[in-house]
Symmetry: C2
Subunit: 148 residues, 2 copies
C-alpha cells in the first residue's frame, strides 16, 4: 500500500478585489488560517485595473496617485489583519495592469513565486472578479483555490 506524504503550501498568494470587500472575506480567512497553521509566507496582492483609470483620470497624475494610494491603503489593511491573526511573514503587493488576471499570472506570480493562489468569488454570480477567479484556476500553473 502506497504511503501518502503530507502536502502543505509554503508560499500563499491571496488576491483581493479592492472594490468588493465581501468577496474577499472568506478568502482572507482561509489564507491566514493556512499560513498560520502551516507557517507559510503570505503575499497579499491587489491590482489597480486599467478600467479603473478612466481617460480623465489618466490625464491628471494627482488622480492616479490618489487611486494608487487608496489601493495601497486597502492592501495594508489586509496585511495588518493578517499580522494581527498571527501570520508572521506577510508581504503587500500592489500592482496595476489592463487585465487583472494577466497581471497576476504574468507579473505577480513570477515575482512572488507562490505555490498556492487564493481567490474569493462573488456570491451573487456575475461579477468580473468572479470570472477572474475561474480564469486563474484555469491558467495558473500552481494550485488555485476559489473560496466561497
Amino acid at each position: 500500500m502506497t504511503e501518502v506524504e503530507p502536502l502543505t503550501f509554503k508560499r500563499i498568494l491571496l488576491t483581493i478585489d479592492a472594490d468588493d470587500p465581501s468577496a474577499n472575506e472568506a478568502a482572507l480567512r482561509y489564507a491566514v488560517t493556512q499560513a498560520k497553521t502551516f507557517h507559510a509566507e503570505l503575499g497579499i496582492c491587489s491590482v489597480l485595473e486599467g478600467d479603473d483609470i478612466n481617460i480623465y483620470d489618466s490625464l491628471t497624475p494627482k488622480k492616479l496617485d490618489e487611486k494608487r494610494a487608496a489601493l495601497n491603503q486597502v492592501i495594508d489593511h489586509y496585511v495588518t489583519m493578517a499580522e494581527d491573526f498571527g501570520v508572521s511573514d506577510v508581504t503587500a503587493i500592489a500592482s496595476e495592469g489592463g487585465d487583472i488576471d494577466d497581471e497576476i499570472l504574468d507579473t505577480i506570480i513570477p515575482n512572488f513565486k507562490p505555490d498556492l493562489l487564493v481567490c474569493g468569488a462573488d456570491k451573487d454570480g456575475e461579477h468580473h472578479f468572479y470570472s477572474i477567479s475561474v480564469k486563474l484556476a484555469k491558467k495558473a500553473k500552481i494550485s488555485v483555490i476559489v473560496v466561497r
Copy 2:
C-alpha cells in the same frame, strides 16, 4: 481593526479520476493533510463516465459490473490510503453519469454536502478531467481547489 476568524473546512470531497492516477496524487495529499489537521470528514468520489460505457459494453451486464467493480476497487484503495494517513472519517462514493461534472454538481455534492471540493489537474494540459476541474471551480456553490 476587524478581527479575522479562522476558516477551516469540515466536510471535504476529493474527486479522483480513476483512469489517471498521476492527476490525483497531489489532490489526495492535500485532502488528507487538511482532513487530518483540521479533523474534517473526507469523502472520496469517482464517476464512471458515460463514455466509458460503450454500446457493446452496455449490452453485456457482466462488462458493466466489471467496470463498476474496478471503479470501486480504485476508490477503496484511496480510502485505505487516507485511513492509513490518519484520517478517521472517510467515505467512499462511487457514481456514474453521462457528464462527470454534472454528476458531481447535481448528485454527489447535494448528497455528501461538502464545504470544499478538491480536484486534481492534468499537468500536461489538455485532458478532459482538467477541464472538469475548471468547470467545477466555476459552477460549484462551494469552495473548490485545483491542486497541481
